[in-house]
Symmetry: none
Subunit: 161 residues, 4 copies
DNA sequence: GATGAATGAGTTTTCATTCAT
DNA sequence: AATGAATGAAAACTCATTCAT
């Protein structure tokens, strides 16, 4: 808490005006990170374009977000396993993720993706990106264009009929 | 530390006979988890069998391990983002992961997998499993046989030529 | 302080316009409570009536005040043991208590009460009421008419010649 | 807490080995004070002696305890109005007070005391002593032998038939 | 080797007080 | 006069580590 306050240019006590305790702060922070991440994911996404174009845009956005905001990504991952996140935040999060869910549905509707439970498809997309970015970061080998393209191809081929 | 000691049926102080401090304990614990996980991964793996059979066995083992030892999986994930793991453990880990690395190479050598950097292939496999298990756990929807098969198919199709 | 301000419908800072600090606020508050309590004690007291009538009125008033303003009574009791009350307030309090003191003196002058130090008589009266009300409150057994009459009888018999 | 630790010659953290938090510490402390006070009250009490002798002994013990352990008395009074004491401690306290209760009953059985609810009698005794000691303390006028005798007489006369 | 009470530095939380508006 | 966000010192509480037995 004191570190967060310092970073924010506040006294520790001031934090407690805005958040009643550490738990609340983490929940709010998590929700905001989630929100901003999802918003980022759909930047430049044009539903009018063919599906693969749109999906590629979103996929690249997700990857880029995880790379550029690695700290936020780590924070969110840690929250997941922490005792801090409460039911309320969990529900909010599920709500926020809906656009991504819709996108995957479209892929199935247009007969591009396999007939697999939408949630599983989504998790597959996320998983392949998250682990890829994490490993790139910790092995200190920045993702080359080729690497990214390979990741995308594997993801796409995995889901396509 | 005291909680770990209690769980181990030891006094707090006794822990410090076996481990110099918390950092060392976590590093050793992490290495052991890593070791035991890898060993589990290759249970019943018969290199004599055709590649897809062998790969399927390993893939299923990884998934099963993550499900059955979810707590260890979480611990290892947390370690990754923690300031505890030292260079030495990181290197050991890389060493341990070699059998998996070899397996992926074989997939490429036998022209089953795409011509993609072996590490990327491995990370892709791991990622799709990890995220899948994590989501199943936290959404409290146990993985059905169908779900597992779908996950495998996506993973395989993603990598195959 | 902030809680008091909120209860008063003020901003925290506004409190500090009227009271230099917490100590002053408590002293003023204590003095006012004391004042209002004493005033209450002598409601309907008619010095023209025989002593016992007058005394009974006052005694009943004290009891009623402690019951109806239990929170104020508690506040005053707590102040007594706190490091907040200053000499000045103590003196003021002693001044305020004089009417009660006079009443007890009258009891002695009229040869109704024992020849005991007036202060001791007064404290005896107060003590028997305070403890009685406190116990009734915390044991959640409201004082019945009989209980009150018994309390009065004990108090009276204790002091009468 | 730190002050208590210092007084006890311990580090603050050590306190938390013996008491899980401030609330528990206060409850335990209160119960012990209560216990030790009651024990003190019945020092030298000989049930074989005539009632008035026994009662006088106990009465004087109570007074002496409150005088000699004024700090404990204050602590107990403050606890009463604090949000700290829990139901459990309250019940324990009621249990402990039983010997005093019994003593008052004896007074009624032997037709010495008025036919008044035992609890009320007890509260009357306690109240007259507590307030007396408190006032003596804060007005810095130590109780003289005469004052004590007067207090006793008032208390006794109040209750006797 | 084993113990577990004790430590104290660090963290979270509270709250009286201030001050720019 | 009034506000209420900001402060920071102090309180409550935690936890890795030590050490006498």
């Amino acid at each position: 808490m004191s570190e967060i306050a310092r970073e924010a240019g506040l006294a520790t006590g001031t934090l407690y005006i805005y958040f009643k305790n550490k738990e609340e702060l983490i929940n709010v922070l998590f929700a905001r990170c989630r929100q901003s991440s999802i918003e980022n994911y759909f930047q430049n996404y044009d539903p009018a374009l063919p599906f693969k174009s749109g999906f590629t845009t979103v996929w690249m956005n997700i990857l880029q977000y995880r790379v550029q905001h690695f700290d936020k990504a780590v924070f969110m991952d840690q929250c997941y396993h922490s005792p801090f996140l409460n039911e309320c935040t969990m529900k909010l999060t599920k709500q926020m993720i809906k656009p991504l869910f819709k996108l995957m549905e479209r892929g199935k509707e247009e007969n591009v993706f396999k007939e697999i439970d939408t949630f599983s498809l989504m998790v597959f997309v996320i998983g392949s990106i998250h682990e890829g970015v994490k490993n790139a970061h910790y092995s200190r080998k920045p993702l080359t264009k080729t690497a990214v393209n390979n990741m995308f191809t594997m993801c796409w081929d995995g889901m396509k009929r």
